[in-house]
Subunit: 310 residues, 2 copies
């Protein structure tokens, strides 16, 4: 029932309006996704770093026992992907200060043969042509979900359309859904994306939660009403990690529902929401490194009470 | 178990980016609130119009059998409150084109003696000094909820503070909660307001739903994921009307919970959400005039399925 994520492992510098800043901390879509998913079971990562990747960041990644890092290439003579960002006063928008692509400008990472049996595949945000290539490496896939971003909507629309015919689900931000479809209404934009291929779309709205549009139904979920947000970096990836981790764990325990069903994913979204709510309580993966499964279960219980409607 | 609302009955002109515009249609906080609440039981209104108030708008108001308009003063020689607004492309923000205060510049409406036994009181948005005066006219009140807006936060902060010591609940928009408290985080802003007196605060976030902070707990609720929004005018007032209508109806049927309890209001918010979702499907009260209780029950059932978490 193996879960795999392809994406970036990077080094971040993050400035926040109220909580100071951190330089050279562990980041990347793979990293946040995998750390979040690891609370539900094993997760494989496929990514690449340079030989400048610091030992202590590697140690943090290795400190999650459920993360299998055999697919993390360390390239001699290459540079690790670095990103610097600054959050605006409202914490909702951020400005990219710098991007040093490093290994991302090179060939995509090789996928170990041992990973070819992966069944649950999350293609974190990268060029859709790379996502398509990755996808083809998992012949036994039973659920594929991709993330994307404004850059590819602008510059690689054709490949993105092709990708959408090959995935079960797409995860994207609400403004990207509008940009991609030209439809301001979230539900309407998501329906348009469904026409292009996927069985479901999860539209992320940050602190306002998400809208889930599936061929078999619609759901809406608020975010966990967090009182203190330190650093929103990785919220979307940890959300996706919690979601996919739950889906893979359900399949592993022999749940009857098929993984892409409306019901399974609807339930998975609440798990993603809860894991993301921990992630934003600290810079980088600081909170996730100390998080326990008991913490997750406890907050999940709280969250259910908070969003209950009867 | 009488429910009453004090506020405005007015004539609106509304411009929208995609659905055209309407001139001289029925509007006002009292109107939207009462129409929404009337799906749950009787509701009294206190307001004033001028002798220019058109017969056909009066007829629309009178077409809701559960609205008691004995408290609607028609003032000879006075002008009805008129408001004109234009929604931005995103439908989230609007610009006020004109405001003709008319009767709102005169004495507040008199409250009929027969209304003094009102128990559930909603003080729709107006100057907090007027809200305080209204409040004193209901000696048998068992639940008082007030709405407010940025104007009073700027210009009548002292009276607003006084008002907050006298009400059970406050309903306001998320940006107003921030403006009032200086706290960007919604939960944190709401907690600050609770320190000023009320037992609960409902922070409205438009298409993103609401956050409910009560001395006994917190809840979050998404909006109904509407696919077509024609005119958001009155969404907040119809939300409040559905909420208060449900609370009054629960009390009328002898529910055990007290009206200001966390549980009662949490359940009431879902009803407000559903009624508001109908209201925004048309200009003015067009949709509410054709709405049936069966429609409300049906969508309520759908909504519960959409927001269910387990």
């Amino acid at each position: 029932m193996s879960l795999i994520v392809t994406g970036t492992v990077g080094i971040d510098t993050v400035y926040t309006p109220h909580e100071g800043h951190r330089e050279g901390v562990l980041g990347g879509s793979c990293t946040y996704f995998a750390a979040a998913a690891s609370f539900y079971g094993p997760v494989r990562i496929v990514g690449a770093v340079g030989d400048d990747f610091p030992d202590e960041l590697r140690a943090t990644l290795d400190s999650f026992p459920e993360i299998d890092t055999a697919g993390l290439e360390v390239r001699v003579g290459s540079k690790t992907f670095r990103w610097g960002g600054k959050y605006a006063e409202n914490m909702d928008t951020r400005e990219t200060l710098f991007t040093e692509l490093g290994v991302l400008e090179e060939m995509p990472p090789k996928i170990p043969d041992a990973y070819r049996d992966s069944r649950f595949v999350f293609l974190a945000n990268t060029h859709p042509a790379v996502q398509l290539e990755m996808l083809a490496s998992f012949p036994e896939r039973s659920l594929v979900v991709a993330d994307t971003m404004d850059l590819w909507i602008d510059t690689a629309r054709e490949e993105l359309h092709e990708l959408l015919t090959r995935v079960d689900g797409l995860v994207l931000n609400f403004d990207e859904a509008e940009q991609f479809t030209g439809r301001r209404n979230t539900v309407s934009a998501a329906r348009r994306i469904l026409e292009l291929g996927p069985r479901f779309v999860v539209v992320k709205k940050g602190e306002h939660g998400c809208i889930f549009v599936h061929r078999d139904g619609i759901a809406a979920l608020p975010a966990y009403p967090a009182e203190r947000v330190v650093d929103p970096t990785g919220a979307g990836d940890s959300f996706a990690g919690g979601m996919m981790g739950f889906i893979a764990a359900e399949a592993a325990r022999g749940a009857q529902d098929e993984p892409a069903s409306f019901e399974t994913i609807r339930r998975a979204l609440a798990h993603g929401t809860v894991i993301a709510s921990f992630n934003i309580e600290s810079f980088s993966l600081d909170r996730l490194t100390t998080l326990t499964r008991e913490d997750v279960v406890e907050r999940y219980g709280e969250f259910i009470k908070m969003v209950r409607v009867d």
